[in-house]
Symmetry: C2
Subunit: 117 residues, 2 copies
Protein backbone atom coordinates (compact mmCIF):
# COMPACT_ATOMS: atom_id res chain seq x y z
CA UNK A 1 0.00 0.00 0.00
CA UNK A 2 1.14 3.49 -0.80
CA UNK A 3 -0.02 6.42 1.32
CA UNK A 4 0.79 9.99 0.26
CA UNK A 5 0.13 12.37 3.18
CA UNK A 6 -0.81 15.15 0.79
CA UNK A 7 -0.73 15.25 -3.00
CA UNK A 8 1.36 18.44 -2.92
CA UNK A 9 4.32 16.40 -1.67
CA UNK A 10 4.68 14.69 -5.04
CA UNK A 11 6.57 15.80 -8.13
CA UNK A 12 4.61 18.01 -10.47
CA UNK A 13 4.86 19.40 -13.96
CA UNK A 14 3.89 22.92 -15.00
CA UNK A 15 1.93 23.59 -18.18
CA UNK A 16 1.92 27.02 -19.80
CA UNK A 17 1.63 27.64 -23.50
CA UNK A 18 -0.63 28.78 -26.29
CA UNK A 19 -3.61 26.67 -25.25
CA UNK A 20 -2.95 26.07 -21.56
CA UNK A 21 -2.19 28.48 -18.72
CA UNK A 22 -1.29 28.11 -15.07
CA UNK A 23 -1.83 24.36 -14.88
CA UNK A 24 0.21 22.18 -12.56
CA UNK A 25 -0.26 18.42 -12.82
CA UNK A 26 1.04 15.36 -11.02
CA UNK A 27 0.57 11.61 -11.31
CA UNK A 28 -0.22 10.42 -7.78
CA UNK A 29 -0.98 6.79 -8.69
CA UNK A 30 0.21 5.36 -11.97
CA UNK A 31 2.27 2.81 -13.83
CA UNK A 32 5.30 3.35 -11.60
CA UNK A 33 3.15 2.08 -8.69
CA UNK A 34 2.14 -0.94 -10.75
CA UNK A 35 -1.36 0.51 -11.06
CA UNK A 36 -2.06 -1.04 -14.40
CA UNK A 37 -5.78 -0.41 -14.94
CA UNK A 38 -6.15 3.33 -14.36
CA UNK A 39 -4.16 6.35 -13.30
CA UNK A 40 -4.97 9.15 -10.84
CA UNK A 41 -3.64 12.63 -11.49
CA UNK A 42 -4.17 15.78 -9.44
CA UNK A 43 -4.31 19.12 -11.25
CA UNK A 44 -4.01 22.57 -9.73
CA UNK A 45 -5.13 25.49 -11.88
CA UNK A 46 -3.93 28.91 -10.73
CA UNK A 47 -6.27 31.92 -10.79
CA UNK A 48 -6.99 32.87 -14.43
CA UNK A 49 -5.60 29.55 -15.59
CA UNK A 50 -7.19 26.97 -17.89
CA UNK A 51 -6.59 23.55 -19.45
CA UNK A 52 -6.65 23.07 -23.24
CA UNK A 53 -10.03 22.79 -24.92
CA UNK A 54 -9.68 19.44 -26.63
CA UNK A 55 -10.98 15.91 -27.01
CA UNK A 56 -9.37 12.48 -27.10
CA UNK A 57 -10.36 8.86 -27.21
CA UNK A 58 -10.13 8.18 -23.47
CA UNK A 59 -12.51 9.23 -20.73
CA UNK A 60 -11.99 11.37 -17.61
CA UNK A 61 -13.51 10.78 -14.18
CA UNK A 62 -13.08 13.98 -12.19
CA UNK A 63 -13.71 14.98 -8.57
CA UNK A 64 -13.33 18.64 -7.63
CA UNK A 65 -11.23 18.78 -4.49
CA UNK A 66 -10.90 22.47 -3.64
CA UNK A 67 -11.45 25.92 -5.08
CA UNK A 68 -14.01 27.01 -7.61
CA UNK A 69 -13.91 26.58 -11.34
CA UNK A 70 -15.87 25.94 -14.48
CA UNK A 71 -16.13 23.12 -16.99
CA UNK A 72 -16.95 23.54 -20.69
CA UNK A 73 -20.00 21.36 -21.26
CA UNK A 74 -21.81 21.30 -24.60
CA UNK A 75 -20.88 24.84 -25.57
CA UNK A 76 -21.27 26.60 -22.22
CA UNK A 77 -19.40 27.09 -18.96
CA UNK A 78 -20.81 25.30 -15.92
CA UNK A 79 -19.74 26.21 -12.37
CA UNK A 80 -18.19 23.50 -10.23
CA UNK A 81 -17.17 23.52 -6.59
CA UNK A 82 -15.62 21.05 -4.15
CA UNK A 83 -17.55 17.78 -4.20
CA UNK A 84 -18.61 18.17 -7.83
CA UNK A 85 -18.13 15.13 -10.06
CA UNK A 86 -17.57 15.26 -13.83
CA UNK A 87 -17.60 12.36 -16.27
CA UNK A 88 -16.13 13.19 -19.68
CA UNK A 89 -16.72 10.27 -22.09
CA UNK A 90 -14.12 9.59 -24.75
CA UNK A 91 -14.05 11.91 -27.77
CA UNK A 92 -16.05 14.64 -26.04
CA UNK A 93 -14.73 18.21 -26.08
CA UNK A 94 -13.87 19.51 -22.62
CA UNK A 95 -11.94 22.22 -20.82
CA UNK A 96 -11.61 23.36 -17.21
CA UNK A 97 -10.73 26.80 -15.92
CA UNK A 98 -10.36 28.59 -12.63
CA UNK A 99 -13.05 31.16 -11.89
CA UNK A 100 -11.79 32.33 -8.50
CA UNK A 101 -8.88 34.01 -6.77
CA UNK A 102 -7.69 30.75 -5.17
CA UNK A 103 -6.24 27.59 -6.66
CA UNK A 104 -8.72 25.23 -8.30
CA UNK A 105 -7.81 21.59 -7.58
CA UNK A 106 -9.31 18.39 -8.96
CA UNK A 107 -8.51 14.72 -9.34
CA UNK A 108 -8.72 13.31 -12.87
CA UNK A 109 -8.62 9.55 -13.46
CA UNK A 110 -7.79 8.06 -16.85
CA UNK A 111 -7.62 4.48 -18.15
CA UNK A 112 -4.42 2.60 -18.87
CA UNK A 113 -2.92 3.28 -22.26
CA UNK A 114 -3.64 7.02 -22.14
CA UNK A 115 -0.66 9.33 -21.56
CA UNK A 116 -0.33 9.75 -17.79
CA UNK A 117 0.58 13.41 -17.96
CA UNK B 1 -20.68 14.83 -20.31
CA UNK B 2 -22.22 14.36 -16.90
CA UNK B 3 -21.77 17.01 -14.22
CA UNK B 4 -22.95 16.34 -10.66
CA UNK B 5 -23.02 19.62 -8.71
CA UNK B 6 -22.20 17.81 -5.48
CA UNK B 7 -21.82 14.09 -4.80
CA UNK B 8 -24.35 14.31 -1.96
CA UNK B 9 -27.12 14.82 -4.51
CA UNK B 10 -26.80 11.24 -5.71
CA UNK B 11 -28.43 8.09 -4.39
CA UNK B 12 -26.53 6.38 -1.61
CA UNK B 13 -26.53 3.11 0.27
CA UNK B 14 -25.98 2.73 4.00
CA UNK B 15 -23.73 -0.02 5.40
CA UNK B 16 -24.02 -1.13 9.02
CA UNK B 17 -23.35 -4.64 10.23
CA UNK B 18 -20.95 -6.88 12.08
CA UNK B 19 -17.86 -5.72 10.22
CA UNK B 20 -18.88 -2.28 8.97
CA UNK B 21 -20.33 0.73 10.80
CA UNK B 22 -21.63 4.11 9.75
CA UNK B 23 -20.58 3.87 6.12
CA UNK B 24 -22.55 5.55 3.37
CA UNK B 25 -21.51 4.85 -0.22
CA UNK B 26 -22.56 6.00 -3.67
CA UNK B 27 -21.52 5.27 -7.24
CA UNK B 28 -21.01 8.68 -8.85
CA UNK B 29 -19.63 7.40 -12.17
CA UNK B 30 -20.16 3.81 -13.22
CA UNK B 31 -21.58 1.34 -15.68
CA UNK B 32 -24.91 3.17 -15.89
CA UNK B 33 -22.98 6.14 -17.31
CA UNK B 34 -21.28 3.86 -19.83
CA UNK B 35 -18.03 4.25 -17.92
CA UNK B 36 -16.69 0.87 -18.81
CA UNK B 37 -13.08 0.99 -17.64
CA UNK B 38 -13.32 2.12 -14.02
CA UNK B 39 -15.87 3.29 -11.49
CA UNK B 40 -15.78 6.19 -9.02
CA UNK B 41 -17.51 5.84 -5.66
CA UNK B 42 -17.72 8.36 -2.83
CA UNK B 43 -17.83 7.06 0.73
CA UNK B 44 -18.83 8.99 3.84
CA UNK B 45 -17.88 7.45 7.17
CA UNK B 46 -19.70 8.86 10.19
CA UNK B 47 -17.84 9.55 13.45
CA UNK B 48 -16.81 6.23 15.05
CA UNK B 49 -17.54 4.43 11.77
CA UNK B 50 -15.32 2.05 9.81
CA UNK B 51 -15.21 -0.02 6.63
CA UNK B 52 -14.60 -3.79 6.76
CA UNK B 53 -11.02 -4.99 7.18
CA UNK B 54 -10.67 -7.17 4.11
CA UNK B 55 -8.83 -7.84 0.88
CA UNK B 56 -9.90 -8.64 -2.67
CA UNK B 57 -8.38 -9.09 -6.09
CA UNK B 58 -8.97 -5.54 -7.36
CA UNK B 59 -7.14 -2.37 -6.46
CA UNK B 60 -8.36 0.90 -4.92
CA UNK B 61 -7.22 4.39 -5.83
CA UNK B 62 -8.36 6.72 -3.06
CA UNK B 63 -8.35 10.49 -2.57
CA UNK B 64 -9.38 11.86 0.83
CA UNK B 65 -11.84 14.66 0.21
CA UNK B 66 -12.82 15.95 3.65
CA UNK B 67 -12.60 15.08 7.32
CA UNK B 68 -9.92 13.13 9.11
CA UNK B 69 -9.49 9.40 9.24
CA UNK B 70 -7.08 6.52 9.37
CA UNK B 71 -6.10 3.71 7.03
CA UNK B 72 -4.89 0.28 8.12
CA UNK B 73 -1.51 -0.14 6.46
CA UNK B 74 0.71 -3.15 7.15
CA UNK B 75 -0.61 -3.75 10.65
CA UNK B 76 -0.91 -0.19 11.90
CA UNK B 77 -3.23 2.82 11.65
CA UNK B 78 -1.97 5.75 9.59
CA UNK B 79 -3.60 9.20 9.79
CA UNK B 80 -4.99 10.69 6.62
CA UNK B 81 -6.45 14.11 5.93
CA UNK B 82 -7.91 15.94 2.92
CA UNK B 83 -5.53 15.72 -0.02
CA UNK B 84 -4.09 12.37 1.06
CA UNK B 85 -3.84 9.71 -1.63
CA UNK B 86 -3.93 5.95 -0.99
CA UNK B 87 -3.18 3.17 -3.45
CA UNK B 88 -4.30 -0.27 -2.28
CA UNK B 89 -2.99 -2.93 -4.68
CA UNK B 90 -5.12 -6.01 -5.28
CA UNK B 91 -5.13 -8.67 -2.54
CA UNK B 92 -3.79 -6.33 0.13
CA UNK B 93 -5.60 -6.06 3.46
CA UNK B 94 -7.09 -2.63 4.11
CA UNK B 95 -9.60 -0.76 6.22
CA UNK B 96 -10.55 2.89 6.73
CA UNK B 97 -12.07 4.50 9.78
CA UNK B 98 -13.12 7.90 10.99
CA UNK B 99 -10.94 9.38 13.72
CA UNK B 100 -12.76 12.66 14.18
CA UNK B 101 -16.09 14.16 15.19
CA UNK B 102 -16.99 15.11 11.60
CA UNK B 103 -17.76 13.01 8.55
CA UNK B 104 -14.77 11.44 6.79
CA UNK B 105 -15.22 11.51 3.02
CA UNK B 106 -13.11 9.94 0.28
CA UNK B 107 -13.31 8.94 -3.36
CA UNK B 108 -12.45 5.33 -4.17
CA UNK B 109 -11.93 4.22 -7.76
CA UNK B 110 -12.11 0.56 -8.81
CA UNK B 111 -11.58 -1.22 -12.12
CA UNK B 112 -14.35 -2.64 -14.26
CA UNK B 113 -15.50 -6.10 -13.24
CA UNK B 114 -15.35 -5.36 -9.50
CA UNK B 115 -18.69 -4.91 -7.72
CA UNK B 116 -19.54 -1.21 -7.94
CA UNK B 117 -20.99 -1.01 -4.44
Amino acid sequence: MKVISHYSETESKQFDGEVVKGVNGRVVIGQKDNALNFCMRIFTIAPEGYTPRHSHAWEHEILVHSGSGQVWQDGKWVDVRPGAVIFVPGNEEHQLRNSSAADFVFACVIPKGAPEL
